[in-house]
Each structure stands twice: as structure tokens, then as C-alpha cells.
Symmetry: C2
DNA sequence: GCTTTCCTTGACCTCGGCGTCAACGTTTAC
DNA sequence: GTAAACGTTGACGCCGAGGTCAAGGAAAGC
């Protein structure tokens, strides 16, 4: 299959696929005319990349998963390196959740203060006008 | 006060202050020699910018607060525009929290599956080795 | 006077993940 | 046969918030 078909089937663009190749994530075979030629294996690789990206992984963080698939495992997370990335990511997400919670709290506090200072009678905090 | 003193007192850099000026957030007076000259009012402006940035505001989002201060109010959130930004930000943060919660859940699920597939006996999920 | 430090402007660099355009070759449809 | 639609590489653009030079003036300490 050629690049635009793989792009369509994975829901991405040809440009992205070439970019992944430039990053060493994807290795495409070539047809006689020089066109890239992809197989089902590549389809799975790209799907793995896109799935992980959707969860917030950087391209670099998808690397262990891709290499795991290329090593012959049937899922990208069958390797220790991938699992480490999961764990690192989980720690990151937890830290982010905590920080965001703090941010939310300080936003609420600031908003409350500001509304209390506002002389606008239509925005009295006791009533919900929205 | 000159630029590096304001930078020191606000905990940022001279480059950042010049950048804020280029963005129209800060207007510095000039001494006879062409040096920027800042007063206490500017100190408060910069403090407001940095405080909001720390909560995740973009420079552009701090603009209403800065203009509110410049309009003579004693806090940057005494104006309706600022309050709107608070509310927008809160909505954004809530959306992000929800997405991040989903991400966390799917990460946990993936990690659980991967560990279940792992043949490593030192990583049995029933025991906490950390 | 001399050196070091601070100030000025201008311009390019960084990072991630591609989008977009250019200039050219190939395949496909009619 | 020829035009449209695909493919190739290369290179620059974008976003945000500055960092980092470079080349020059001003100020401050000795």
C-alpha cells in the first residue's frame, strides 16, 4: 500500500508518516519506482503511535512501543521499556492532576474575591444566573 | 529603577521585560540616557503578569488584567474583562481535568493489561514492591 | 585612563509536530 | 496524448515565551 492509503487508513496524513520515518519510527520499503510501500505491520505501528499520542505521549515516548512491535511482539506494551514509559507517564499525569487541582482552587479563590469586589448587582454570588 | 533592578525585584529577566514591552503589556519611560525607567506601578504590573502566568495564563490572557491596573484600579481583576478570563480559564481547567482523568484511567488500564501479559514474576500486581 | 558592568537594538535559535510550498518525476483516467 | 492526481525530496513557516549572541553606547569603580 502507498503512503496516502496508509494515511487514510490510520486517519493521519502522508506528511506525518514521512515525519515519523524521519524520526526513525517507521521504515518503509520502496517499490521499483521509488514510492514508499507499506504493509499491515506498518499499519499496526502507526496505529500504536497515534493511539499513544492521543493519550499525550510524545513521539519519542512511543519509540519503545514501536520497537517492541518491531521485535515481533504482538502488542507494543509487551516489553519492559514500554511498561516503564507507562509508569513514568502515570506519575507525570498524577503530578499534573495535582497541579491542575491547585490551579483550579486558586482560580476559584481569585474569582470569588473578584466577584466580591465587583459592584455589579447582577453577579451576586448567592444567586446562579447562568 | 532600571531594567535589571525591576527584573531582580520581580524574579524575572530583563529580556522578559523587554519582551512584555514589545507585546504591549508594559510601557517604560526613558531616562535622559535612553535607559528604561520603571516605577512602582510597573512593578505591580509585572507581578500581576507573572502571578497569572504561574497559574497557566498566556501572556495574551493577562492583558485585561494589565489594562485594568493601568486604568487605575488597585487590583488587576477589578474589571469585567478580567473576570471573564477567570471564568474561561476555569472552564478550560475543568475540561483539562476531565480529559486528564480519562487519560489516567486508560493509562492504568493499559498498564494493568501489560503487567498481566508480562511473564515477570517480580511484578505481580497483587504485591506492592515499591 | 582603564576595565567591568549595565544599557540599547536587532536578529536569529529553541522545541514538537507537523503544514505548506516548490520543483520535479510517475501513474492513472479519459 | 494529455491533464489530473499521486509520489519524491528539500526547505521554510508556525506557535509561545523568551534565550542567546553581536555590536555598540553609558556608567561606575579604582
Amino acid at each position: 500500500m502507498r503512503i496516502s492509503e496508509l494515511a487514510k487508513r490510520t486517519g493521519t496524513t502522508a506528511r506525518a508518516l514521512r515525519f515519523y520515518e524521519a524520526q526513525g519510527l517507521l521504515e518503509a520499503g520502496r517499490s521499483a519506482n521509488g514510492y514508499r510501500d507499506y504493509g499491515e505491520r506498518d499499519h499496526r505501528l502507526v496505529t500504536e503511535i497515534l493511539t499513544l499520542q492521543a493519550i499525550g505521549f510524545s513521539l519519542d515516548e512511543t519509540r519503545p512501543f514501536v520497537e517492541c512491535l518491531r521485535a515481533g511482539h504482538d502488542t507494543g506494551d509487551s516489553c519492559a521499556d514500554s511498561i516503564e514509559v507507562y509508569e513514568r507517564k502515570l506519575t507525570e499525569v498524577d503530578a499534573l492532576l495535582e497541579r491542575l487541582g491547585d490551579v483550579r482552587a486558586s482560580l476559584l479563590a481569585k474569582l470569588g474575591d473578584a466577584l466580591a469586589k465587583q459592584p455589579d448587582p447582577c453577579r451576586v454570588p448567592s444567586a446562579g444566573t447562568e
